[in-house]
Amino acid sequence: MTRSLASPLRALGSPTSRYIARRLVWMVFLLLVVSLVAFLIFYALPSGDPAAQRAGKGADEAQIERVRHMLYLDRPLYEQYFHYIKQVVLHFDFGFSYSNNADVADQLTSRLPATISLALGAAVIWLVVGVAIGILSALRPRSLFDRIAMGGALLGISAPVYWLALVVLALLSQSYGVIHLIPNTGSYKPLTQDPGAWFTSLLVPWIILSLSFAAIYARLMRANLLETLDQDFVRTAEAKGLSRRRVVMRHAVRAAITPIVTAFGLDLGILLGGAVLTESVFNIPGIGRLSYDAIQDSNLPVIQGTVLFAAFFIIIANILVDIVYAVIDPRVRLA
């Protein structure tokens, strides 16, 4: 009756893999629903007429109709939708952008590495910094460190990313900062192409993007740990004569970190859908800016593509969170 949750890989054919398979099927269904909803919202809400928009303001009706036909917009709604889904499923073809004819799948996949770089880097920073500060604060509640850290966290949570980015640039920008420290925006290079430029161009965006998250995580970690430190099992660990460090790290933190895992998974999932402001200010060619522009332009194919990508990441993050949860907490069963 031993179980091997700690190693999902060993569990092929086990409840775990059946669970994952079921969740993946469910994901496909959810993605269909999401795409349908995005599709319907696009048509339900008054926004632009893509055909007229593409045809140009002087265009006559004949021209608009030609464009409408070209964009597949003259078919009944259900037909448009099925056509879209069919193209996505059979050919991984997400259509082309109304505003510049770019291939949406290309745009998404070529922008994904930047978004992943930005999100993952920031995530590592905020997780490490947030959790560390949260632990230190919880171990010395109401101490000077705690007060400064939590005060700082409040600031971090409320500081708008855009503003923060502008301030940091004004201080450190190579071209116009007080100290010429960080490279001009738009200097992002893919990791595979130029690791140095990749790192230097992303370092400040990482820090800025991670700041508010780090603040939230520090507060979350502190609150959880304070609560956990009062738990009976922590007292048991102390009564066993374990070292303070072991009591805190192995017993209290281990238990206090589970809600962080949930939050982390979801936050990362959402961020993989794109970080609009950070991407814009630092001109990192990621998915966030793409989706923002698409919404501004009523650019359905790009909206659909980015929404699907974002939904995909969020759902995957959810599944991973559940699996990680089951690994962390043996009471949780994947079912």
Binding site: L229, D232, F233, R235, K240, G241, L242, S243, R246, P330
Partner: protein, 357 residues
């Protein structure tokens, strides 16, 4: 007389809270002899747990202010360093707690939790520690211990979990085991099993035990001596048969009247006496039981009474100003089945209300 294993002298603990310092322990003294069982009774909030946690140094993290002495094996645990205390905890003094459901870490296998305690104090291999853990699980009566050692706490019932806790406590052959209401959270049949187990282990292993409980009935069976606590103080202290034969403190009387009997519902035992315990934040400096005492009329002094030996019996101590002769008459009346007010009237004490009127 042999040297006591544990000698607690005038222990005081104040825990800082937002509302002010909670004076949870206000000068507690008692001793535990090697191999003996000390029962500590008292209603909820009387400071039993805080006393025990304090002597193990477990109130330090909450910032408790502690004074007095706790002499154990020649050391004063109040002034001992964190390091020293760490070496003693779980090794020479072990403790088990009220709620076995929450006292085990939910994420670790029970075997790991036991071996962790062993390896914290003994330089043994993982394998040896594991073997010891299996042995201990067997000792506390867990069937198929070599399989269960790899289970998680949630896979055990409440009673089994308390057995695991006991196994964990016994891991390093402690000289003293503090059991803080080990059965309160369990149902009745399981309670009896756990008590029987503790009794058996105490006899087999010859360790001293401090058994904390609300329930005088529990200690009657296994304790050698009894300490009765109220509002952070010891109000009466005596060898077990003396306490039951001739209890001397009005609070103890109340407790004794509440020993569960088959004809009464089980939950009446927890409030033996009407009224609530006093606030431990603002101490009055008078007898803390006075506001609830049915026999208060006339005899109480302005000062808090001291814990004094009963005339002719060094081992029996009581903290009450009531004259000895009146005390005997009240207990006789109560033993005869009279209610406290009837007993008070019988010895000529007017009730508190009449007094006030």
């Amino acid at each position: 007389m042999t040297e006591p294993l544990l000698d607690v002298r005038d222990l005081r603990t104040a825990i800082p809270t937002e509302d002010g310092d909670v004076h949870a322990v206000n000068g507690v003294s008692f001793t535990v002899e090697p191999g003996k069982v000390l029962g500590v009774v008292g209603e909820s909030g009387s400071g039993k747990s805080v006393t025990m946690l304090t002597l193990m140094g477990l109130t330090r993290r909450a910032g408790a202010q502690v004074s007095g002495e706790v002499l154990f094996g020649g050391r004063d645990l109040v002034t001992a360093s964190d390091r020293e205390l760490q070496r003693i905890r779980g090794n020479e003094i072990a403790m088990i707690f009220q709620d076995p459901l929450s006292s085990l870490h939910p994420f670790y296998r029970v075997g790991a939790q036991i071996t962790e305690g062993i390896r914290a104090h003994r330089d043994v291999t993982k394998k040896q520690a594991r073997a010891r853990a299996i042995e201990l699980l067997g000792l506390v009566g867990i069937p198929k211990p070599e399989q269960r050692v790899d289970d998680y706490p949630h896979e055990f019932s409440g009673g089994m979990r308390q057995r695991v806790m006991i196994a964990m406590a016994l891991a390093n052959d402690p000289k003293l085991l503090i059991a803080d209401e080990p059965t309160t959270a369990l149902d009745v049949t399981v309670q009896a099993q756990i008590l029987a187990l503790l009794e058996r282990l105490q006899q087999e292993l010859g360790m001293a035990v401090v058994m904390i409980t609300h329930d005088l009935g529990v200690v009657a069976e296994i304790a050698d001596d009894i300490v009765v606590m109220y509002a952070g103080r010891v109000v009466e202290q005596a060898p077990v048969e003396q306490l039951f034969r001739q209890p001397r403190h009005p609070y103890t009387w109340g407790l004794l009247r509440s020993i569960p009997r088959l004809d009464l519902p089980r939950d009446v035992d927890l409030v033996p006496i009407e009224g609530r315990p006093p606030s431990l934040i603002h101490l009055t400096g008078r007898c803390s039981f006075q506001p609830r005492c049915p026999y208060v009329g006339g005899c109480c002094g302005e000062q808090d009474p001291t814990l004094d030996a009963v005339a002719g019996n060094e081992q029996h101590r009581v903290r009450c100003d009531m004259p000895e002769e009146r005390r005997a008459r009240v207990w006789d009346a109560l033993s005869a089945g009279r209610s406290p007010s009837e007993a008070a009237a019988a010895v000529g004490i007017t009730s508190a209300e009449e007094d006030a009127a």
